[in-house]
Amino acid sequence: MKSIEDIQSCQYEIAETEDGDITIYVQGRMDSSNASRIIEIFGSLIKDRQPLSMAVDLKKVTYIDDFGALVLVELKDMMTRANGLFDLQNAREEVLFMLDSETLADTTSFIKIRPPNMFIRFGDAIIQYAADVKYLISFVGSVCIAFVYSFLHPKSLRMEETFLYMQKTGVDALPVVAMISFLLGLIVAFMSSVQLQLFGANIYVASLVSLAMSRELGPIMTAIIVAGRSGSSFAAEIGTMKISEEVDALFTMGFDPTRYLVLPKILASVIVVPILTLFSDVFAIFGGLVVGVFMLDLTANAYISETIKTLTVFDVFWGVFKSAVFALLISWIGCLRGFQVKGGAASVGHATTSAVVSSIFLIIVSDAIFTVIIRYLR
């Protein structure tokens, strides 16, 4: 029985004797484009007809590469498993050489490294964590030294860079901070009015919005926005500089990377985030005012005078002070994560995520501490 079949750029003919011997005459190319199809077709042939022996004739093969050679090895394996014989006919020397080479003889696939067991991983994590803490502390130290140095040598501070970061962290963030604060003021006013209306205490919406925003929500929202916008970008920037050896270049040129890269960022954030927070307060109060005037029948005058009556200078400054601390934490952790980057692109991504997550975590923790402190302070 003879038939010519076609698999992409490879044709084959099958000759079968009555004793159950099959000879396949292959023509054309045996390469990566048809390797899997050939295995599939010839494999099912072996399964269906269960030949005693199979021979593959390569006389008319015009091109065969390692994919083709592997196909032959696989067919041989299949025949051996079916207790049959396998033979190659008219194979050129280079094909035989390819089949003979050591890798093919050793067809066992390489062993993938399995992840170590739970205890080893736990131990690794602890060691990693300890190293992280150690690095964290040394980073605090180097930032402090850089600060002191810059204080003693004001000229060494990169003023232009600092202004640039002030613009990136502050001015560019203003629209989104304003928008979010406005809406937040609106929401707080609306939610509280539902309750306060029951007591006819609409006017206290103004107190609630202004106090909540200037002491808690304003600083926290601003800080979270800055963490997402600038903390992540600090980490990504320094991380990319680290893997492209720019940090090393700074070091060998005699610059202190901390002073050169970190200080402008921290300084800019600490100056600009409190100002952003003030803006946030104002916009939130404005949001509350909109609800008060249009939904609660308060006059703008009454709303504003109630706001002024409620807010003390201390409240506003306390919020601003907190936001300065948040800014310090955000920029510090952003830079720290950037410096911890090792290896490639994936590591930069990890550092960026970690910068945002850690800074939000630190913001909330430090805010909790502040709340406890203020409770006993006044």
Partner: protein, 264 residues
């Protein structure tokens, strides 16, 4: 048998917004040839390479790879062309989050349906070919620059492409490793008949492997020399070409003359 043109560049004008870098360039690469593109810094070698592998679209002209115009074709044809080429990038461009084995197996898994066992064997063969056996489970960040180059080559030829493009393969390699890479290129070319298009200015390697070269020039924005480097070295009409191959400064002759005068 006359060899056919596997890469044809016809009247290519290339550049970045408004600035023309290559002006009316035409050349052919024959099948099975080792073809080297060279030239001084900033002459547009890399730009030309980016056009050849379809990363950039020409301002006008055609780039024809194995019969299909890569600069102007539909999505499916483009995919088919990409299947025929492999590129070794200057910095190897290995994926940092994957082991060498995963890097090499990526194109094999994407373009074929071979069983896992065979894919692993192929990966082994490829890494063996570039003398990286035993490094299957290493990450790119754990191996040296030369090894990265070789692993990048293993990945580029994972599917035995018809044409391999190299962007400065010997940049940053020591002479010994560089020669080993040259030998690898030669043996791949001989055994598999792969066409090689190489951008480089490593002189020893040019004389070692090149069948034919073209030299680009920044001033004329075109090709100033084409042919066998061994011939061009002594017989080119262009002085810059001779200087390039003989590794002499552009004003070498002037200096040597003035030295002679001083001696007299």
């Amino acid at each position: 048998m006359k060899k056919r043109n596997i890469v044809q560049v016809k009247d290519l004008i290339a550049g970045y917004d408004g600035e023309i870098i290559l002006d009316h360039i035409s050349f052919d690469v024959l099948e099975g040839e080792i073809f080297i593109i060279l030239g001084g810094s900033g002459c547009g070698k890399s730009t030309l390479l980016k056009h050849l592998i379809g990363l950039m679209k020409p301002l006008s002209g055609q780039v024809i790879i194995d019969g299909n115009d890569i600069s102007n074709c539909d999505e499916i044809t483009f995919k088919n062309i990409l299947r025929k080429i492999g590129v070794l990038y200057q910095s190897s461009a290995l994926f940092g989050s994957m082991t060498l084995a995963e890097n090499v197996s990526l194109p094999i898994q994407e373009y074929t349906d071979l069983p896992k066992k065979l894919v692993d064997t192929l990966v082994k063969i490829k890494l063996n070919l570039v003398n990286l056996n035993g490094y299957e489970n290493h990450l790119p960040s754990e191996i040296s620059g030369g090894m990265k180059k070789r692993a990048g080559l293993a990945r580029a030829m994972a599917l035995n492409p018809k044409i391999l493009f190299f962007d400065e393969p010997s940049a940053g390699l020591d002479p010994v490793t560089s020669v080993e890479l040259d030998n690898l290129i030669l043996s791949l070319n001989k055994n598999l008949g792969t066409t090689m298009v190489i951008v480089t200015h490593e002189l020893p390697s040019i004389f070692n492997v090149a069948h034919r070269i073209i030299m680009l020039d920044r001033q004329t924005k075109g090709i100033i020399a084409e042919g066998d480097p061994n011939y061009l070295k002594d017989h080119s009409k262009n002085r810059f070409v001779r200087n390039f191959f003989n590794r002499q400064s552009q004003n070498y002759e002037r200096i040597s003359e003035s030295l002679k005068k001083n001696r007299n």
